[in-house]
């Protein structure tokens, strides 16, 4: 009987490869939406505690990204958009990515629990679990509703920010959750319309692959029609001022107009690309307006 061992080469992974594992672009959106959740929450948070909360949420999001890349290395290698990620390129081994992800996730959750509060830590742990186990391991490869349900993971950061500030939850952070939850499908389906061949090659059942482009366009419009009023809701419910309300109505209108153009588009993907690009700007502007609306109060509350 002979035993053979796989030859393990010493790692050539640099710091940049580990940063890439954490999906910095996703992380930036997470940290921004969590910051808004933290700032719009009532009461006062000490800046150091607020900073630590944001740091833990950011590291937790990075950990989830690394664990996603660890599990999805096989399909990442088959898609042009993701083939240059550290694991498919051979810069980081799957084991290294898993170890990195689990270590960061543990540190982020435990630190948030010990230094900020247990509710925020529990929500962060749930978010990481949902993104890795529910979305990555289960839904992504099995249903075209993958990004609809999985979008909950990306929608939770403002709730974690709110929980970090107050130690409780309320209707307002749930509203922020709903905005990101209903924003995710039109955003990703706009992308998948012009990347459907990539997804089909990797065997991922995205909506355009399974149900076709026409149905995807219809669903994009449907979700956008729900999203635009939700974006205005913080003003309608009295959580934000009229400047926010006017901005939300304006950019919501642009988003609906772009979704209608996607619906009418028969050739090419110009409208889909425009909708994808504008959807990022839409979410950023919406949350930035909320931040601007509340920042003076938060600052004066602190210095009063």
């Amino acid at each position: 009987m002979s035993v053979t061992f796989a030859r393990v080469e010493p790692s050539i992974a640099g710091v940049g490869d580990y940063i890439a594992l954490m999906k910095p672009r996703v992380m930036s959106l997470v940290v921004f939406t969590a910051l808004v959740g933290l700032v719009v929450a009532p009461g006062h948070v000490h800046p150091v505690i607020g900073f630590v909360a944001l740091l833990c949420i950011t590291v937790g999001a990075g950990a989830a990204g690394a664990l996603n890349m660890w599990y999805d290395a096989d399909i990442d290698a088959r898609m042009a958009r993701t083939a240059a990620r550290p694991i498919p390129r051979g810069r980081v081994t799957p084991g290294e990515a898993a170890g990195f992800g689990f270590t960061l996730a543990t540190f982020a959750v435990v630190t948030l629990g010990l230094l900020v509060n247990v509710l925020a830590a529990a929500l962060l742990a749930f978010t990481i679990f949902f993104y890795v186990a529910i979305y990555t391991m289960w839904l992504k490869r099995s249903t075209p509703q993958n990004i609809v349900i999985g979008g909950a993971a990306g929608a939770l950061p403002p709730m974690i920010g709110w929980a970090a500030a107050t130690g409780s939850l309320a209707i307002e952070p749930v509203l922020l959750f709903l905005i990101i939850f209903f924003w995710t499908p039109p955003h990703f389906w706009a992308l998948s319309l012009y990347r459907s061949e990539d997804y089909a090659r990797a065997g991922i059942p995205m909506l355009p692959v399974v149900a076709g482009a026409a149905e995807t366009r219809r669903q994009i419009l449907l979700y956008t029609l729900i999203l635009a009023p939700l974006g205005v809701a913080p003003w309608l419910l009295g959580y934000a001022g009229p400047v926010y309300g006017a901005a939300a109505v304006l950019i919501g209108g642009v988003l609906i107009a772009l979704a209608l153009r996607v619906c009418r588009e028969r050739e090419g993907h110009r409208a889909s690309r425009q909708l994808f690009g504008f959807s990022i700007l839409y979410l950023f502007l919406l949350f930035a307006m909320l931040l601007i609306d509340r920042l003076p109060g938060a600052l004066f509350g602190h210095f009063a």
């Binding site: 790692s11 050539i12 580990y18 150091v48």
Partner: protein, 76 residues
Amino acid sequence: MSTVTDAMSEQQRQPKPQPQGIKLTEQQLRARRARSIAIALALGAFVIVIFAVTMVKLGSGALSGADTMRPVQTTK
């Protein structure tokens, strides 16, 4: 007997083969050094975070421990 001893001492005189081990390339050494520095910085940052939060949580009382040791004044 002496023949056996001679053979053993002869064996001991022979230079022992050095273990080959893994020789890291220049690129691997550079990558390892960069990773080590990043881990050191991350640990340093973690220590600073814990220190800062400890100071915030203890508040101003952290630096005036002597005051807290005073016996409580009671009025009769």
